[in-house]
């Protein structure tokens, strides 16, 4: 299945900003972070289709996954 993955802030360094990739069924944000060599403890915010999700959320065909480190501002 195809998932669009977006990376932000320091996660982009040495990786990519956004792309659509093929993944196996039942894959989770934790699995994708692992493939990208992003340590789980560094993942601050996970959004799936613009909603907050957990690292073990089950992804489906056509989903958009956004991964952020813990950042803030205002």
């Amino acid at each position: 299945m195809e998932i669009t993955v977006k990376l932000f802030a320091m996660f982009r360094v040495g990786r990519f900003a956004a792309g659509t990739y093929k993944y196996r069924d039942g894959i989770t944000p934790a699995d994708i972070a692992g493939e990208l060599k992003i340590p789980e403890k560094d993942v601050g915010i996970v959004l799936v289709n613009s909603r907050h999700a957990k690292l073990d959320h089950r992804l489906f065909e056509g989903d958009t996954l956004s991964l952020f480190p813990l950042v803030g501002g205002g």
């Binding site: 932000f8 613009s50 909603r51 952020f68 501002g73």
Partner: protein, 576 residues
């Protein structure tokens, strides 16, 4: 010894007073709000003789405590009609604290049509006539005063917007690089202008160190506090690298980035104005990606932005400004936004109110959406010159909405709503509605917990837990605003158990007292209640704690969320 300095502009007299016992434990917002509530008639005209402008450094300002250099300014606001505290970095707070000045209270209005300056030093405060710098922009004022009084001089100044008493006018504070930080919100620059004070210069030569009752205890606590700031990923890594503007992409992804005058929650060109792009642009052009707004800042979330030729354009270039002119006005050119930011600093006008105002002005048809050059032109040719149109624009979002018959005007208590859509980030909507200051994201920054997973997580799209979250954060923020601390210490304070006790220990060591966590919470509650009492006496009721109608009736994409709190649910906020 700490003192209160009073200046009466009606007769140009000055007076030094001892600190009354009941003010001794207060600083920053706690002190400015207490003084305004005690001494300003709530129904007075904010630009009339009865209003007072109060400056107060925080409880820890002037000490070696990290990030403690913020100055509070307070008065009755000409923008909102409520009590107002607005705080800023820069160099003035630490100089006032070293001079032992707990508060500077400016009263009255001169009889003659003459402009003045105040000069604060070890000798007290001197009132002098000023002619040379009247009409000048803030950068020219700073340059001239450094030539006149020396490079180290601290400066608080108003630009043309303050002189013209525009209700979006701010008070500018010289920063460590002779650039500008601002008491942005609430039109306090117009209050300073009404008192005919162009600038306040400060010389702290000969001032002693700020006394610390228990230096050893202070050192220990101060180390633990600084460690917490550096250990937390937000204050220790994210903010120094990407600045506050890292939020553009996050709010876009979460669907809470107000776009095209609050008609959408996502901006197609978000990446062109994002923190990531800002960081790359600054690095490529030789600007500074890290910068502190005051000495002793270890977070360094600010930056210096250069143009394509490598020349300085602006600094202190914040998310709110970039969001407002960017997404809310649909301008996708960072160079145009940076130029406008510099102009707003020079004119002395709040960059949040003005950005929200331009969104309304575009809706009114004054400019097309996306017209960054048009924004620059209106700032230079209308607002800076105080033309008739310029005065309407300089009155902020509500002023333009009224003048042009616009119904989608994002304000609460007439203050422009900042960079988070309250329909899709509901906790911040409660803060906008109930803040004693009018719409103000910093009053209780629920974005931390709604969006950023700091201090836990409360789903931004659901109503559950939002009132309690906003209440707890507003109480804590009122207390933090009294310490002189940068509000970003809240990120580690929410997540790292050692952080808040270290902050309390520093206050205890500074004054030789023994505050507990409960005392700090009670201070926050006291401040909010004092401010609300002033507002009630000024004519405000629960009916003013509401968001504009369109948030209820216009769903916002991508979540098609609406503002769905009942009045009774909002009013629960004040049950403490």
């Amino acid at each position: 010894m700490d003192k209160i300095i009073r200046v009466n502009m009606a007769d140009l007299s000055t007076r030094i007073e001892a600190v009354p016992a009941e003010w001794a434990g207060l600083g920053g917002r706690g002190l400015t709000s207490t003084i305004v509530a005690a001494e300003v008639p709530p129904t007075c005209h904010p630009l009339g003789p009865s209003n007072k402008l109060v400056f107060a450094p925080g409880l820890l300002t002037g000490t070696p405590a990290a990030n403690s250099g913020r100055l509070s300014a307070g008065a009755k606001s000409p923008l909102t009609g409520t009590i107002k505290e607005s705080n800023a970095g820069g160099t003035a707070a630490q100089m006032l604290a070293r001079l032992g000045i707990k508060a500077l209270i400016i009263e009255g209005i001169p009889k003659a049509d003459t402009w003045y300056s105040l000069h604060v030093s070890m000798d007290g405060v001197a009132v002098q006539e000023e002619t040379e710098l009247v009409g000048k922009g803030n950068f020219a004022v700073i340059e001239a005063l450094e030539a006149r009084l020396g490079k180290k001089t601290g400066i608080l100044t108003i630009g043309p917007a303050g002189e013209l008493k525009m209700t979006a006018a701010n008070i500018s504070v010289k920063d460590p690089d002779s650039k500008i930080r601002s008491h942005g919100r609430g039109g306090l620059g117009a209050v300073m202008g009404s008192k005919k004070i162009k600038f306040i210069s400060i010389n702290d030569e000969g001032a002693p160190k700020v006394p610390i009752a228990d230096p050893e205890k202070f050192r220990t606590a101060s180390r633990a506090f600084a460690k917490a700031l550096l250990d937390h990923p937000v204050s220790g890594e994210g903010l120094p690298t990407y600045g506050t503007n890292v939020l553009v992409n996050i709010l876009h992804e979460a669907g809470g980035l107000p776009t095209r005058n609050f008609t959408a929650g996502q901006f197609d060109s978000h990446d062109k104005i994002s923190g990531e792009t800002l960081h790359e642009t600054i690095a490529a052009r030789g600007g500074k990606t890290k910068h502190g707004c005051h000495a002793g800042c270890i977070i360094q979330c600010s930056q210096v932005y250069h143009d394509k030729e490598g020349k300085y354009v602006t600094s202190g270039f914040e998310y709110e400004t970039i969001w407002g002119l960017g997404a809310d006005c649909c301008v996708d050119n960072l160079d145009d936004i940076a130029r406008a930011d510099n102009l707003m600093d020079d004119i002395g006008i709040d960059s949040i109110e003005t950005a929200v105002m331009f969104g309304v002005a575009m809706e009114a048809g004054i400019l097309p959406f996306g017209d960054g050059k048009g924004i620059i032109r209106l700032l230079e040719e209308e607002i800076a010159k105080g033309t008739a149109l310029g005065r309407i624009l300089g009155g902020g979002a509500g002023s333009v909405g009224k003048a042009y018959g616009v119904t989608r005007v994002p304000v609460v208590k007439n203050q422009g709503i900042p960079a988070y859509d309250p329909r899709s980030v509901k906790g911040i909507g409660i803060t906008y509605a109930t803040s004693t200051m009018g719409a103000d994201h910093t009053a209780g920054y629920t974005i931390a917990t709604n969006i950023l997973n700091v201090g836990g997580f409360v789903d931004p799209l659901k109503k559950d837990g939002q009132v309690e979250l906003s209440r707890n954060l507003q109480i804590a923020t009122a207390a933090v605003d009294s310490t002189g601390m940068c509000i970003f210490v809240a990120f580690p304070a929410l997540d790292i158990p050692e952080c808040l006790p270290a902050l309390i220990d520093m206050i205890n060591a500074r004054f030789g007292i023994s505050l507990t966590g409960d005392d700090v919470t009670n201070l926050g509650k006291y401040i909010l209640k004092t401010e609300r009492q002033f507002n009630i006496a000024a004519g405000f009721t629960s009916e003013h704690d509401r968001l504009p109608e369109f948030f209820k009736s216009e769903p916002v994409a991508p979540h098609n969320a609406v503002w769905d709190f009942s009045d009774a649910e909002i009013d629960e906020f004040w049950n403490f």
